[in-house]
């Protein structure tokens, strides 16, 4: 067992002031180790999205401590968190969030641009990532010329092109039919097993969560249950 990648220590997240004060997270304690595949579930307003934003270093706790790779990520400023995201975290969103009128390859290369990697090397790394998601031959297509499943594969390629430590996926199959959902989940499972990529995934579908080795349920700003599913694959 490696050192914990993610550690929440009594994390609170509060929105609004006075009467309108809402605790999106109310003293959450959570540890996720490297190589885990975790599905986070819960009704809307349960705090799962807030937790994901903090895990992805997009947001910081109001109080408590969030450690990412042993560092106090909650105390970092905007620029350092952006650097952290660029170096260690890949994002996949429900709405794909690809840049329109931009080719698949250029979309995949985007995080590398912000790393200042030269064009030739970017091209090679981008093509390798597209190869991993099975989209070789589509690199010059724009998102509008790709199906939903293909667009999400491009988004996954963009997330893994930097060889991140953590992949954060927010309802990645929310817009897809059952067959496409299975394809995407198989792909994520492969990345988890073969590359040892840690995945934190938000979903409200039990079948999707079943692909993960660990299911965490949020309710009213805290963890209601934290279940290790049978040893589907060793963490």
């Amino acid at each position: 067992m490696s050192a914990p990648l993610i550690r929440f220590d009594n994390v609170w997240k509060t929105y609004g002031h006075g009467e309108a004060e809402v605790n999106a997270l109310a003293g959450v304690n959570l540890t996720i180790s490297q190589g885990e595949f975790v599905a986070i579930m819960g009704p809307s307003g349960s705090g799962k999205s807030t937790a994901m934003n903090i895990i992805g270093c997009l947001d910081t706790p109001s109080s408590g401590r969030y450690d990412f790779l042993g560092a106090d990520a909650g105390a970092l400023d905007r620029g350092r968190r952006a650097l952290l995201r660029n170096l260690y975290i890949g994002f996949v969103f429900q709405g794909y969030n690809l840049l329109p009128r931009t080719t698949a390859l250029e979309n995949v290369e985007l995080p590398l641009v912000y790393r200042g990697i030269p064009a030739r090397q970017r091209h090679d790394m981008g093509m390798a990532a597209l190869d991993k998601v099975g989209l070789i031959g589509r690199e010059t297509h724009t998102p509008a010329e790709l199906s939903g499943g293909q667009q999400q594969r491009v988004a996954i390629a963009r997330a893994i092109v930097t060889n991140p430590t953590l992949l954060v996926a927010d309802e990645p199959t929310g817009n897809l039919d059952t067959a496409r959902t299975h394809e995407i989940m198989e792909l994520l499972t492969d990345l988890n097993i073969e590359q040892g990529l840690t995945i934190a995934l938000v979903t409200h579908e039990v079948e999707v969560a079943a692909f993960a080795a660990r299911n965490i349920f949020f309710r009213d700003g805290n963890i209601e249950s934290d279940v290790m599913l049978g040893a589907r694959h060793a963490a």
Partner: protein
């Protein structure tokens, strides 16, 4: 990295082609106006200066009649005499030239051709006083001036009318009741500031002009030229003193002649032109400011429109300065394109104006370089606030933006 950003900016400009063009228009018009104004203004000033040179340098023109104020008719009074001229020559020995002249518009005939030209009766000093060159033939000799010989020099317009591009020397033309042998062709002077053809002229010895053309003994004009570097103002005081004396004007009474310093008048005109140019340029510069506000407006729209894309970029690790640079470069590229188009348009307008107004077309590289730099600066300055707004977006909110 910067090249990449510029490429990205160009793509964005191209994608919103119509919007970009409309935004650019403000900068294009502003820069074009400034460039056209300054170039036309510089040409006009250059022309005024050239006109000054044609008048003869350091020249005083003395005419009978009291000095006329603006809008006042100059009252004619007795003309000058040989005595006045002799006194001036004696009292101002270090003048570059002193010359007497009289003028009349008279019909000139050669064979079956005729035209009305400005005939000037004068002496040898006239050439020095007016900086007048002779391109063909020779000036008068002193004996020809003394005897009022039937010789003349003609201007280019007269030569063209009578001889085309042929040799006019040693032919005889008729001026009024007098036959003159052409001994020289005057250097071309072009049109004066007031639209007068300065080449439609004939010069002849004063005595002959008085006897056979004017029919009187009047000296209408005295030209006094100062040596290079000497003050015409001092000379003017001296000339006034001498003439008051010879013309016996009692102290306290007004001069019955006027001394005009053409160089001073012309330099006043030149500085007026330059001031006008500066003012028009400043007005044009205001339209540049308006153009800059247009850029700011469109960049704000652009940032709002691309909020989600900014969110994506921020989420995957773009730094604030990456986003800031992207929009700043885009605004700068946009206004720089506008600036370049504006320079082309402005120079085109100035060229057109210089052709129709016959002023020199001499665009200043400094002004052009300044226009390029200034239009880029406008993009950067007016693009900064919108770009900062984009860069400061919260990635979570930006990603949720529809």
């Amino acid at each position: 990295m910067l090249l990449e950003t510029i490429r990205l900016a160009l793509r964005s400009v191209r994608r919103n082609a119509l919007r970009s063009i409309l935004t650019l228009l403000g900068i294009v018009i502003g820069v074009a106006a400034v460039i056209a104004m300054l170039t036309i203004g510089a040409g006009t000033t250059a022309k005024v200066k050239a006109d000054i040179a044609k008048l003869g340098s350091n020249l005083l023109i003395v005419r009978p009649g009291a000095p006329a104020g603006p809008g006042q008719q100059q009252i004619n009074s007795r003309s000058f005499t040989d005595k006045d001229l002799a006194a001036l020559a004696r009292e101002i020995p270090d003048a570059k030239a002193i010359s007497a002249g009289a003028q009349k518009s008279v019909k000139v005939v050669y064979g079956t051709e005729s035209l009305t030209a400005q005939i000037t009766g004068t002496d040898t000093g006239y050439f020095r006083a007016r900086d007048l060159g002779v391109t063909l033939g020779r000036e008068f000799s002193d004996s020809e001036v003394r005897g009022g010989a039937g010789v003349c020099l003609i201007g280019e317009t007269v030569r063209k009318q009578f001889f085309g591009s042929g040799d006019p020397l040693s032919t005889s033309i008729r001026i009024g009741r007098m036959n003159c042998s052409v001994i020289g062709l005057l250097e071309t002077k072009g049109f004066s500031q007031f639209g007068q053809d300065q080449d439609n002229v004939v010069l002849m010895p004063l005595a002959g002009f008085q006897r056979r053309v004017a029919g009187n003994n009047d000296i209408e004009t005295i030209y006094v030229a100062a040596k290079e570097g000497e003050s015409t103002a001092d000379m003017q005081v001296l000339v006034e003193d001498i003439l008051r004396d010879t013309r016996r004007i009692a102290p306290g009474r007004e001069d019955d002649f006027s001394v005009r310093d053409l160089t001073q008048i012309a330099s006043a005109m030149a500085s007026t032109t330059a001031a006008m140019t500066g003012m028009l340029g400043a007005v044009a510069a205001i339209s540049l400011l308006v153009g800059g506000i247009g850029i700011m407006n469109i960049m704000l729209v652009s940032v709002t429109e691309r909020t989600r894309k900014i969110g994506i970029r921020l989420a995957i690790g773009a730094q604030e300065h990456d986003i800031l640079t992207q929009f700043l470069v885009e605004a700068t590229v946009l206004s720089l394109i506008g600036g370049l188009l504006g320079i082309a348009l402005g120079l085109g307008l100035a060229l057109l104006a210089s052709n129709t107004m016959s002023i020199p077309f001499d665009p200043s590289p400094l002004v052009i370089a300044f226009a390029v730099a200034f239009s880029a600066l406008i993009g950067t300055v007016f693009g900064f606030f919108p770009a900062l707004r984009g860069a400061r977006l919260d990635p979570i909110d930006a990603l949720r933006h529809e």
